[in-house]
């Protein structure tokens, strides 16, 4: 399929619904298997850290959720651009349905970070660059949620949320570079695209499995939410009426 044609079809919720069923199943199964393997491997079989002992196992939950919290925000920002520039319906649905997922990931990243900080830094919380900018991201997610609730007209709510999502992406590079720009207790990045990880493979392999697994979980959530929202918005059309009339599977 040509790229331009694909682009056009993404504008059609019905086409997306009909092609995405197998993808959702695939992502869901992959997420379940990878996270199960990665978590058990990380918590029980990876070797302890020479400085942090066993508390470093928190990394296998903390790093994937923190990476994903930022990725979801970037996706919301991109959806905001697609909505404002091309009026893409699917982009509006992404902005509407993925906020709780991003919020949950950010909250989980902050929570696991606090619990890791206690034995490692000696405190649950410090207001430094990384933690504060991540807290700002949590508030941005809350803002997107509240804004949607506060504006009754769906199109107006969508445009307002798109704008907030786009403006908020400024925060993402701040989160990323905060550990380099400011003095901090927070350690540097675990994975970098340009260098090999600064730990042995037995330690970073389970982390990589969890990171891929949580991206699959994101894919599964994204597709599932979009499919449900498509049915809800198009419930008056003939194809959805026919689909709903079939027995539940």
């Amino acid at each position: 399929m040509r790229l331009k044609e694909f682009w056009h079809r993404l504008g059609s919720p019905r086409w997306f619904y009909q092609m995405s069923g197998p993808w959702q199943l695939g992502f869901t199964v992959a997420a379940g298997v990878l996270l199960l393997v990665g978590i058990i491997w990380g918590v029980a079989f990876a070797p302890p850290d020479y400085q942090q002992g066993n508390s470093f196992r928190i990394m296998y939950v903390h790093v994937p959720t923190a990476i994903l919290a930022q990725s979801v925000y970037m996706v919301l920002g991109a959806a905001g651009v697609l909505l404002l520039v091309w009026r893409m319906k699917l982009a509006d649905m992404v902005l509407q349905t993925m906020v709780p997922f991003g919020l949950a990931m950010t909250a989980l990243a902050l929570f696991t970070g606090a619990v890791w900080g206690r034995p490692t830094w000696g405190t649950w919380w410090v207001f430094d660059g990384r933690t504060t900018s991540t807290l700002v991201m949590l508030f941005l997610y809350f803002g997107l949620y509240a804004l949607r609730q506060a504006i009754p007209r769906p199109e107006a709510a969508g445009r307002a949320c798109a704008l907030l999502a786009i403006v908020g992406t400024i925060n993402i590079p701040i989160i990323k570079y905060s550990v380099e720009w400011w003095t901090t207790l927070h350690q540097g990045a675990t994975f970098k695209l340009t260098e090999a990880p600064a730990m042995p493979i037995e330690m970073w392999a389970p982390l990589l499995v969890n990171v891929i697994g949580i991206y699959c979980l994101f894919g599964a959530n994204l597709i599932a939410n979009l499919r449900n929202e498509i049915l809800r918005r198009e419930q008056a059309t003939k194809w959805v009426r026919e689909l709903v009339a079939r027995p539940l599977t």
Binding site: I39, N54, T65, A104, L108, P119, N221, R241, L248
Partner: protein, 61 residues
Amino acid sequence: MFDSFQAFLDMGGHGLYVWLVYGSAVPLLVLNLMKLRRARRQLLRELKATQAVLDDATHAT
């Protein structure tokens, strides 16, 4: 590898922190995966009910 199950639970004295993290994250992930299936079935039931009401209204007039 841990020497014993007791050592695994203890996590070198950091058991509280490690298990607090895994004990909160794992149930959340499981709930999330379960929700995906439940949400769809619930939505289909809702749409079915709405359509039944609409169809009745159409037949009545």
